[in-house]
Amino acid sequence: MSDFVQSLRLWFAPQRIRDEGETPDYRFSLANERTFLAWIRTALALVGGGFAVDQFLPDLRWGVRVGLALALLAGGVLCALRAVNHWVRCERAMRRGEDLPVSRFPAVLSLSVAVVALAMVVLVVFGWAGR
């Protein structure tokens, strides 16, 4: 966690990163930027999914619907924060010539999405059977 706080400081101190190491090949920085954008799109998709749950599943009970929607929205926020964090850390690692950072986030995210998807399938099937 202290690792996270440390990289949080880097978010707002671009100069500190620029002082370290050497500027990498511009193509590596662009590839890192595209990865960042892909994560931002994932975050946007989760946010859009949260909106869609609220809009298109009006038959669900209020608590369930709002819970699902808020879970997806929270996932989107986490994803966006993580996008910046990962981008900064990759940028620094490339400047220092270190290995790129590894993380558990993709595994956690895919498991959470799977759980939410399963919950939705169960809810929709039961809602349909109960009619």
Partner: protein
């Protein structure tokens, strides 16, 4: 453009990055439209107008960030993305989520 006359990257990295920004802008547009649909119903009240204004504001902010970056990517050897650009893009995403959460709640 003069930049095109310089040695072009055979991997088309700036172009690919530019298209990635376009795709992301498109995603942001879809989410902003969904956000507007979330707030707007039949009657126009102060709440609806606020929702419309906030979603449009976030969308325009994202568009501005993307546009600046796309223009910067026109160079043959573009500089890396600025911290401000990255943070603004993330903040726009988070703003849409927070705004949606407030409406859904």
């Amino acid at each position: 453009m003069n930049a095109a006359a310089e040695a072009r990257d055979p991997g088309l990295q700036p172009e690919r990055t530019r298209l990635a920004w376009r795709r992301t802008t498109l995603s942001c547009t879809v989410v902003a439209v969904l956000a507007v649909k979330l707030t707007v119903s039949d009657e126009i009240t102060a709440k609806e107008l606020t929702g419309l204004a906030l979603s449009s504001l976030v969308w325009v902010a994202f568009l501005a960030v993307a546009h600046r970056r796309i223009r910067a990517l026109g160079a043959a050897r573009p500089l890396p993305l600025s911290h401000r650009g990255a943070l603004l893009a993330a903040v726009c995403t988070i703003a849409l989520a927070v705004f949606g959460a407030a409406v859904i709640w």
